[in-house]
């Protein structure tokens, strides 16, 4: 089939193109270019989804050489859902960023462009070493974005994030080296049948190193320490991009490896990520309840919500429902967290302070922003009618189906803790504003972008059938 009409390569080439052109145009420029590019990418993602539904998984041999020698791009239901999430979150955030960076965005557009290109490349990659290069591109772009704010504190947070990211990539790379040494190839498709349950020790160590590296990149408890300063200190559109999307990429990879090539090795290790997930939920929520700063609260909420994603690993006895629960939680959290960080950015701009108790009277002055924050909160709490609720429903259903009661208890406790820290903010906002409080005007477009994302996460709660149908494609029973 003629390569020009294949959405897979274009999903990677398009963001790379507009990112480098934005760089050419100079600092602060490239906003409109980005919007056009992102709209195109969303169309491509939708087109890919339709092709998957019609014809099943799609693969694209780069250079025409085919798997072991060349590198393949592969898209199944899971990658199509993640691609849709990435473009669906990036487009409104681009609108938001254009209005947010009123006085010139520095290198935001090229950095964001390369970040999104790396995300798309990662969701489509089917080669372990290619994934290493994509992870590095993603990590460096993310570090550049974190340091965008300038100043000592963001730079320190960015450096710590970079060091953790590089150490994790090093571990991942050693894993790839061991896999190549053992089997002579790093392409996932030919590798999967080769790895048997009683594979040599080197392969087991490789799997451990790679998964551990990815867990550090996805900021799962106890590797979460770098996330709150990095995401909390960065400008709002950057925090939204990082919390909603970047940490999901590492989670996606863990899922891909856990269910794919390393499935025989990881069969009965599901309890470990679930334990770490439970720790993340409890510790993240506890910190979110205590931090005085608004954006830190939202960042700690990311640490907690990530815990949910890892609760599905012991449930892979029944692969389909567990995968649905995890993916829906990732999509719901992606939309809601982007909306919440966007709303937090607006509140910070309006009140001039990054403090939770500085929000009194916001309900009166910025109703749309608070409504967006509230709706995003509803999704994070997993309350109906949001997509977060559907994910929670599927997770509890799968857990009860397999009799894992402690999992149910953790999910419920997490929901209540999320309610505690979301309403901690809403309670402040509903208080009457003290006279001294004056609000700086905020462009309306910012509010509508945040509201759009939050509404999407709720509306998805009413109609998840198509998404689940798309997800099911290519997932071996």
């Amino acid at each position: 089939m003629n390569g020009l009409l294949d959405p897979l390569p274009w999903l990677i080439l398009l963001p790379l193109a507009w990112a480098s052109l934005a760089f050419l145009l100079g600092p602060g420029r490239g906003g409109r270019l980005a919007l056009a590019g992102l709209a195109g990418q969303l169309a491509l993602a939708l087109w890919l989804a339709r092709r998957l539904i019609e014809g099943g998984p799609v693969s694209h041999a780069v250079g025409g050489w085919g798997a072991p020698l060349g590198i393949d791009l592969y898209a199944d239901g899971l990658s199509a859902v993640m691609l849709l999430l990435t473009q669906a979150v990036a487009l409104p955030l681009a609108f938001y960023a254009r209005a947010y960076f009123a006085q010139g965005a520095g290198q935001f557009w090229p950095l964001a462009g390369f970040l999104l290109a790396a995300m798309n490349a990662l969701f489509l990659a089917a080669d372990l070493f290619n994934l290493y290069v994509t992870l590095e591109l993603l990590g460096l772009a993310a570090v550049g974005l974190v340091a965008l704010g300038g100043g000592a504190e963001p730079s320190r947070a960015a450096l710590r994030y970079l060091v953790v990211s590089l150490a994790a990539s090093g571990a991942y790379l050693l894993g790839v080296a061991l896999i190549y040494g053992s089997y002579g190839t790093v392409a996932i498709a030919p590798l999967t049948p080769l790895i048997a349950a009683q594979a040599p020790l080197a392969v087991g160590l490789a799997a451990g190193l790679m998964l551990l590296g990815l867990v550090a990149k996805s900021a799962l408890f106890p590797f979460h320490f770098w996330l709150p300063p990095a995401h909390g200190g960065a400008p709002a559109p950057v925090s939204a991009l990082l919390s909603a999307l970047v940490v999901k990429a590492a989670f996606y990879l863990i899922l891909r490896l856990w269910l794919g090539p390393f499935a025989p090795l990881t069969a009965d290790w599901g309890w470990l990520p679930a334990l770490a997930g439970a720790g993340a939920i409890l510790w993240g929520s506890w910190q979110a309840l205590r931090t005085p700063r608004l954006k830190q609260l939202v960042a700690w909420s990311t640490v907690a919500q990530l815990g949910y994603l890892f609760l599905i690993f012991p449930l892979f006895g029944l692969k389909e429902p567990a995968l649905q629960a995890g993916t829906l939680q990732a999509v719901a959290h992606g939309l809601a967290k982007a909306a919440m960080f966007a709303a937090a950015g607006i509140l910070l701009k309006a009140t001039g302070r990054d403090a939770v108790d500085g929000l009194a009277g916001v309900a009166g002055r910025l109703p749309l922003t608070l409504f967006a924050f509230g709706l995003a909160g509803v999704t994070l709490m997993g309350l109906p009618p949001s997509a977060g609720f559907l994910a929670k429903w599927l997770l509890i259903d799968a857990a009860l189906e397999q009799g894992l009661w402690p999992l149910v208890a953790i999910v419920l406790a997490g929901g209540l803790l999320a309610a505690a820290y979301v309403f901690r903010v809403l309670r402040q906002a509903f208080l009457l504003a003290p006279e001294a409080q004056q609000f700086h005007p905020v462009p309306r477009r910012l509010e509508w972008a945040a509201f759009g994302l939050a509404a999407a996460s709720v509306l998805l709660g009413l109609r998840g059938v198509e998404l689940m149908a798309l997800l099911g494609i290519g997932v071996a029973p």
């Binding site: 709490m381 429903w393 509903f430």
Partner: protein, 500 residues
């Protein structure tokens, strides 16, 4: 989208759409907002009328919407649903009038009426839910929509009340969710059905079903204010009067009671529940709540708090009616669902008028209010007599059937409970009536506010609603035997629940 599917959806949308539009309305557009509110309320009234006619004629209305593979939002406007829908629709109309008058020039009215409409939509959804999943979706939506109303005033006390309200309701929600998903795991996705759908499960699941029942009732019991879970109701009285009237007297607590009815009759099936010995503990819990609520009401000097504890006790009559195995007890419980609503909303309207016009919040300050505000006090007295269960009022009818039902189910100790609670009702209502009518007016009222236009007593928008609902209390009592009365409708439902 056949008419049988479109009608229930239209009932839902008739409050959702105006609500969403009102959210977007700027504060100053008072005219548009009022017309939208009233148009929505009247449209819903007409639609519900059509539904009532259709259901009475044996039509069934409902529609399904797939949310996830194997999980659906199901709506079914059956007889039981319409009992609650009609009650809410009528009272929402009156409360809208009342709220427009009450919040004459208050701030944030767009936000208020937006969430107000959302609450009613949630109540409609709860009533017409066709399976436990849909019920839970709207049950939690009601919590989310009521929180901004409870904290509407924005004062620190309102915040405390709101926080307590959330803690209870979200906690209850978590328990309910666990119970629902557990049943979903055991029995798959099944719709509500006359006689329940759990009877077919193998006997070894009985223990799990009992535990699941406990979770469900605990979850729903929070909103139905069963004793250990009722703490939020008195705290939520910090909300403005229309919120206390419609929500804490009708929508929210009735949602809990309605949940108990659905679970016992259409999930477990009353015979299966009896065989699992679930009804007696429910009856005991209801009885304890009835007596405890009335007892606590005795000592409340704050008028709205006293009414709140009275609600705690009265709502459990419904749970008691459900727990009395037999059609008569069921009729008593179901009809009380309507009667308690009309009576309690009248009381809250009057309490609101006293507070708004005279600045009176305490029972001790009510001396001589009868002379100063005669019409409001007449309405208050009629409703108070209804609560005690005096002859011609609606309250008498429901207590009569509950008593008969208790005897039919040979649970005679329930009759004793009914008598004690009636005595307690008298004990905390009669002193108020005595103060209203037989005590001289004080020199000056705490915060008298004589409305510019309208009768001297208070604005007509604040006066008409309690009078109408007081009239309804009398009509429901006197014309109980008429075929369009709530009692007749309750009999129709009981017939369908037990006949199969």
């Amino acid at each position: 989208m056949s008419p049988n599917e479109a009608l229930p959806l239209a009932v839902l949308l008739s409050s959702l759409l105006p609500g969403l539009i009102i959210f977007a309305l700027p504060e100053s557009w008072v005219g548009t907002r009022t017309t939208l509110n009233l148009a929505g309320a009247l449209a819903k009234l007409v639609l519900v009328g059509l539904l009532l006619a259709g259901v009475a004629a044996g039509q069934d209305y409902g529609f399904r919407h797939a949310v996830l593979p194997g999980v659906e939002l199901v709506f079914k406007a059956d007889a039981l649903a319409l009992l609650f829908v009609t009650l809410s629709t009528v009272l929402w109309l009156f409360t809208t009038f009342y709220a427009i008058g009450y919040l004459e020039d208050a701030p944030h009215r767009s936000r208020f009426f937006g969430f107000f409409s959302l609450c009613v939509t949630a109540t409609m959804g709860i009533a017409m839910a066709g399976n436990l999943f849909t019920f839970f979706v709207f049950y939690e939506l009601l919590t989310l929509a009521t929180f901004p109303l409870v904290v509407h005033r924005g004062t620190p006390q309102a915040m405390r009340g709101g926080t307590v309200y959330l803690a209870y309701t979200l906690g209850g929600g978590a328990l309910l969710l666990t119970g629902i998903v557990w049943l979903h795991a055991l029995a798959g996705t099944a719709d509500f059905a006359h006689g329940g759908y759990l009877a077919a499960l193998p006997p070894r699941a009985a223990g799990q079903l009992q535990f699941a029942f406990l979770l469900l009732i605990a979850g729903v019991g929070v909103k139905a204010a069963l004793v250990p879970l009722h703490g939020w109701l008195p705290q939520a009285m910090v909300a403005p009067a229309p919120v206390s009237a419609l929500l804490h007297a009708v929508a929210v607590v009735k949602a809990g009671a309605f949940g108990i009815v659905r679970i016992v009759y259409e999930v477990y099936g009353v015979e299966f529940a009896q065989s699992l010995e679930l009804l007696t503990p429910l009856a005991v819990a209801a009885a304890i709540t009835i007596v405890w609520g009335s007892w606590r009401a005795l000592f409340q000097d704050d008028l709205k708090k006293r009414l709140a504890y009275s609600t705690v006790s009265q709502v459990s009559y419904i749970a008691l009616g459900v727990a009395l195995f037999g059609p008569i007890g069921t009729i008593g419980g179901l009809v009380h669902l309507v009667h308690q609503g009309i009576m309690k909303i009248t009381l809250f309207f009057c309490a609101g008028n006293y507070a708004e016009t005279l600045g009176v919040h305490k029972v001790s300050e009510l001396n001589g209010a009868g002379r100063r505000m005669p019409l409001t006090s007449v309405a208050f007295s009629v409703a108070a007599f209804g609560m005690i269960g005096v002859a011609p009022t609606a309250g008498y009818v429901s207590k009569w059937y509950l008593g008969e039902g208790a005897l039919a189910a040979d649970m005679s100790w329930v009759v004793a409970v009914l008598w004690t609670s009636s005595l307690l009702n008298a004990a905390y209502f009669l002193p108020i009536l005595y103060r209203l009518w037989f005590r001289p007016q004080p020199a000056g009222w705490p915060a008298e506010h004589i409305p510019a236009r309208g009768w001297r007593e208070t604005g007509w928008l604040l006066l008409m609603p309690p009078l109408f609902t007081a009239l309804a209390v009398l009509v429901a009592g006197l014309f109980a035997e008429a075929d369009w009365s709530p009692l007749a409708w309750a009999k129709l439902i009981a017939e369908r629940e037990y006949l199969q």
